[in-house]
Structures are given as C-alpha cells and as structure tokens.
Subunit: 397 residues, 2 copies
C-alpha cells in the first residue's frame, strides 16, 4: 500500500509547503546575487573564540557536555541569559528562562501551550512567516492588522479582543522580519494596556533588538508588563544560528511549567554541547565587542543598500529604512506583482522574497523583502542596480 493512501492527520493534510523554501530553491543559481535569504554573515562568526572554548569544554568536561541535560536548559546558561536580559531592561530570573532549540521551537511551544483548533491569534500583516508555520500545526485562525510606518496598527484591536476568542497577540515589535519596522513606545503601551485589560498574553518575538545600529530601541514590551508577556530571544542572529540555541521567558507558575512540559514532549532538551559552548563564549567577555562588530557591518551594508535604492530605483518605488535588524521592505506601484516578477529577476541574476509570502491571508502583491546582512557591499551595489533596471522595464520606463 503506497503511503499516499495512508491516513494522515488533518494538520498534515492542511499544511502547505513553505513558500520561501520553494523560492530560495529557484534563487540558488550560480551568479545570482540574493537578497532573498535571511542568513547572518558567516565571515563575522567569532569562530576562533568559539573553537577555543569548545576545545576547553571537550578537554575539561566532555562527560557533562555530551550527556543528556535538563529540559529547562543548562542552569549556568540560564543564569547568564537572565543577567543579560536584566541589563537590557527586561526583569526576569533564571527560573523563568527556558532554553529552546532555536526561536522556531519557542514559537512551537507557544502554539502548543495556547492554541486549540479555531483559537484566534492577533498579528500584523505582513508578519513573520515562521510563526505562522509554527502556529498552523495547532490550526488557529488569524486576525491580522495592517501596518503603517510604525508597524502593526491598532484600530479595531479592542473589538477583536472583546470577542473573547483571542489566545495570543503575536508581534515582532523591533526591526520586524520581513519589513524592518519597529513599533514605537506609545503604541506598545496601547497594545499592552489592552492585553492587560482583556487578560491576553502578548508574545514578543525579539531576535533583532540587539542589532540596533544606533543603540536605540523602544522599551521592551516584556519590560512594560512582565506578567503579560512571553518573550522570545535567540543567539541565532547575534552569534550563530547553527547552535540552535534560543530562549523563552515565561511568567513563573502555570505558564512556565506548561512551556517546559510541552518542550519536553517535543525534544526532551536542547543540545547540551551548544549550550555549553555559548555559556563559555559569553564568559570570555567578547560578546559585546562582537555585537558591536556585526552592528557596524550590517549598518554599513544597510547604508549601501538604502543609498543605492535612493540613487537607482525609479519614482513610485518606496522602501523602509530600518535602523537595525537584517531586512528592509520595498513597495512597488500596485501594477507590479513581485511574485510574477521573480523569474525575470532571477534571469537578471538577482533575487528577493515576494512580500505576499508574509501575508497569510493574501495581499502584499506589490511588496518584497530584502536582506542586507548576507551579501557584501559590492554585491549589494550590483544587485540593486540590476533590480532597478528590472523595475524600469516593468514600469515601462
């Protein structure tokens, strides 16, 4: 009996293939300058120091670093993460930190703990696609709010919360993937006030706030209302994604305990070696300097991208100029469909992600996500020129 005739779960049958994955496949051709990915620059990984501390760990305590570990995470790592979070203005203790296998697992844990079939999730449009993919396993419905220059708008939010069906408000409030937008303090306060009023937890997904180019970011939502926010942080963009080490901060009690149990069912615990390496790396004291280095590098790349866009993009094309993170967002005249345009872009040896991918309910057809952390400055300059040419042609200029 072929497995195509087996009886699969409803969720497995409903799960679409990941659009971005499919897109990345067609953009991976030799010679193509790709702004489609979301990778940190590997040449900036602090590889020498990582090698040193790894060597130390495998000399001094291989038995511990290669053995099973606790579901909550390696206790010393939880301690230093809590210390760092406190320094960044987020009040928490090590007991509230759960080490996860990347922030993707943090999102999955949120889905497991909060979502039943048909539950409502409030989020922005566009929104982070990985979150949708994680949540979709639990088959919720989404209510999305449009974005302006300050991220998710809040008109009508209270009416939605009044329905009593919303389980979580999901946001990437700082330098959001895909659009680079940041929700300013006053709008954060508004959302938090409503969350408190209606007793709805806010999920603050925060991979990018430490990548602020001028060091400025609004107050974390977790700081505004520690008891109402589940916070997700990660080392993937700050250090290296291959470790799959991230953390979730949940209010102590039912919420934290349920997150731990759900993670335990999912993968028992996050890889021990990676946790030990990151802990030892943080102890060297090199982390802040490293962050400064990648902030500078990404800031320079972003500057080149924005400069080239101003110089070469035709009239009618606008874009965000984020002050941090890895992505910016391009909006074209409504006549252009960026999904249809992509094959022509690849022909011209340049690639992006069509913005529609970040609108779970459709929309955003004339938008695109651009990554500036992976390509170097020269590639950015050439790639933007190619895109500009493409836009000129598409607009009949």
């Amino acid at each position: 009996m072929p497995n195509s005739r087996w009886e699969y779960s409803e969720r497995a049958i409903a799960m679409k293939s990941n659009v971005i994955r499919e897109i990345l496949k067609i953009t991976k051709k030799p010679g193509v300058i790709s702004f489609a990915g979301g990778l940190p620059a590997p040449e900036l990984f602090p590889s020498a120091t990582i090698k040193e501390v790894t060597n130390k760990i495998l000399t001094d305590s291989p038995g511990e670093a290669l053995q099973y570990g606790r579901t909550e995470g390696y206790p010393p790592l939880r301690e230093v993460v809590a210390e760092r979070m406190n320094k960044l203005g987020v009040p928490c203790t090590a007991e509230e930190i759960l080490i996860t296998s990347g922030s993707q697992q943090g999102l999955d844990v949120v889905g497991r703990v909060f979502l039943d079939e048909g539950s409502l999730v409030v989020t922005s449009r566009p929104t982070y696609l990985g979150a949708i993919q994680a949540f979709d396993t639990y088959r919720p419905r989404y209510v999305t709010f449009d974005s302006d220059k300050d991220g998710m708008t809040v008109d009508g939010l209270e009416d939605t919360l009044l329905t009593g069906e919303v389980r979580v408000i999901y946001l990437v409030p700082t330098f959001q993937n895909p659009d680079g937008r940041t929700i300013p303090t006053d709008r954060r306060k508004l959302i938090i006030d409503l969350a408190e009023k209606y007793g709805i937890p806010v999920v603050e997904d925060d991979p990018y706030s430490e990548l602020s180019f001028d060091g400025e970011v609004p107050e974390h939502m977790k700081s505004m209302s520690p008891e109402m926010v589940v916070y997700l942080g990660t080392f993937s963009k700050l250090l290296a994604p291959g470790f799959r080490i991230a953390w979730l901060i949940a209010p102590r009690g039912d919420c934290y305990d349920r997150c731990v149990r759900m993670k335990q069912g999912a993968d028992l615990h996050t890889n021990t070696l990676g946790q030990h390496i990151i802990y030892e790396y943080l102890k060297t004291g090199d982390f802040d300097e490293h962050l400064e280095k990648i902030r500078k590098a990404y800031s320079k790349r972003r500057n080149v991208m924005v400069e080239m866009m101003h110089k070469y993009f035709p009239e009618g094309v606008s874009f965000t100029e984020p002050n941090g993170g890895l992505f910016l967002w391009v909006t074209l005249p409504e006549s252009i469909n960026t999904t249809e345009l992509l094959p022509k872009a690849v022909e011209k040896q340049v690639a992006y992600i069509p913005g529609n991918a970040f609108y779970p309910a459709g929309g955003g057809y004339n938008t695109m996500r651009m990554n500036y952390s992976k390509p170097n400055e020269e590639e950015i300059e050439i790639g933007i020129k190619r895109l500009a040419e493409l836009f000129d042609e598409a607009l009949g200029k």
Copy 2:
C-alpha cells in the same frame, strides 16, 4: 492578571507532569545508587576523537558548521546514515532520511503527521513513556496489548485494526525501554502482515538494536516491509545524547514530505555543529570499535546485575535477562507496590523507576525498571544487595 487564569490549550491543560522526572528528582540524593536513570556511561564517550574532529571542523569550515542548515539534515550525514542502515539490512536511500533533534523529536513528528484527537495508537504495555508524552500532544487514544517474554502479544490485534481507527502501531521491538524484551522474527512478521493487510504504518523505534551483546538481533521490521514502516534511529545511546542527533526513515513521497514540513515548523532544522561533528566522527572509522567497547562494558554490567539478582533476590521475584540495550525489568509478587516502596528504597540509598510509569492506562504496580548502563560494576553489586534487603523486608522474610 496572573497567568494561572490565562486561557491555555486543551492539550496543555490535559498534559500531566512527567512521572519519571518527578521520580528522578527524589532519587538524586548523595549516596543513592541509582538504577532509575537511562543515561549512557559518560566515561565511555569517545571524547578525544570528538574533540579532534570538532577542532578540525571549527578550523576548516566554521562558516558552514555554525550557519543555518537544511530541514532534512546535513546531506553528507544523511548519506553515511543511509549507508550504515543498508549494511544493517535496512534498505533506504539518503533521500528518505530526515535528521531529527533526538528521537524524541522523531516521535513528535510521527504524532504531528499521523494523529488527530481521538485517533488510535496501538502499542504494548509496558511501553516507552517518551513516546506517550510525544503523542499525547496530539490527544490520541491508546489500545495497549499485554507483553509476554517475547514483547507485545498480538491476540486481538486484528480486531483492533478492523475498527479502521488505528493510525499507527508503535513498537520498540528490540531490547525495549523499559523491559528489555525483544519481539522475535515470527511475531514481527505477524504484525507486519496485519499492518500490510489493513494499511496501517508501523513505527519501529530502534535506539538499542546496535547494542546487542552477542551481535544477534531479529530482522528489522523496516527490512521486512520498507514501505510500511517509519523507522527511528539515534546516536544518543551509540555515541552521545548531548548532540541531540537522531534520524527518521520515512517512505518517499507523501509520508517523507509531510515529516519534513512538520519538522520545519517545529525547529527549522537540527543543530548544524552536532551534525558536522557526527559526520566527521563517522568518517574516522572509529565508530565500530567504539560500539564494540560499549557493548562489552554494558554486557559486563548487565551480567553483574543478573548474577547479583540471582544470588540475592528472594524467591518470587523474577526479572528479564535482555541480551542488549540498557534496561531490565523486575516483577515482584503482586502484594508489593513498587511506587509505595520507592521512598523506602531511597532511604536505603538505592533507586529504580516504578513500572507503573510505563503503563499509560494503569497497571504494572508490582514491576520496576532497572538501568545497568550508568552505574559501574561495584555500584551494581552494592545496589542490588540493598534492593534484595528491601524486598526481604517487604515480603516479611
């Protein structure tokens, strides 16, 4: 609003805390000889070679080993795993292998792909508790079949499959955790025949078959019917669990594709560094020799445990004598409840897991799981004497 009043998912509310976790906490007292855990012996990890290959990786290709990777896994690792599986008589190609974050994630992926609320899972009693914990997220029901010396019995299995509600048959057919029992070839064939007849996939969870003390194991169920079996293998017991590197082999097509998508939503991909390390380790050619070493060590520990049990345990106490794996199973007279006995055992500085923990629907009150891979020979001897004393007292001898 305290988080105890938040609205959680039905699955989160239903999820009990893990009994074994709670038990392990009370058994972790200084001086207690513990047969309760399930850890491989850390002194046997091939740490020196692992350090060497890790050093090489972080010198030669840190950019790749620390970067994001594919959901399916590191392609060269998938290749060598497929080669090994073929050598072990399991026909498969690299394209059918999905690297998972431990076998616990393999079980979670199975749950995601196959189980809806109320779906039936067929398994043995006792059964592996981690599987129940993984599946419970998806809220199935269980039909369990009693075990004899040859593992799960099959009387009534066909009637159950006839209901049309069974989604998977879950088995650890070789040196099962918790009871060390192995299903012999003819019974495997019977189960496979029924699975084929009714089109029900079999999940063959196989962490232990390479830990056979005399090298003999029955034919893998995956080998008997490659198209009907989803196979789970892991490096946790063979190399080291801290990497969290395991693999799932699914028939090509719908089944494999769905497994990949479900894993992608769960954690994007398994940690890259661990995959590179294991790949490079396997390339050294030391693996077979290492396996021989741990087989010998565990076999010796098992022999000591069995010998001591024969020597000291009172009449009326029986136990399995598995020819591989990490666990054996003790059955006491019905008058003894091993859960109630545990605090007295801990007082006597010895610990085990009450067998009831492995009966999701209750039962097994007079049984216990004993681990012989972690304690050394001296500890085993002392610990079994302590247990024997305890049994004597409990039986009024």
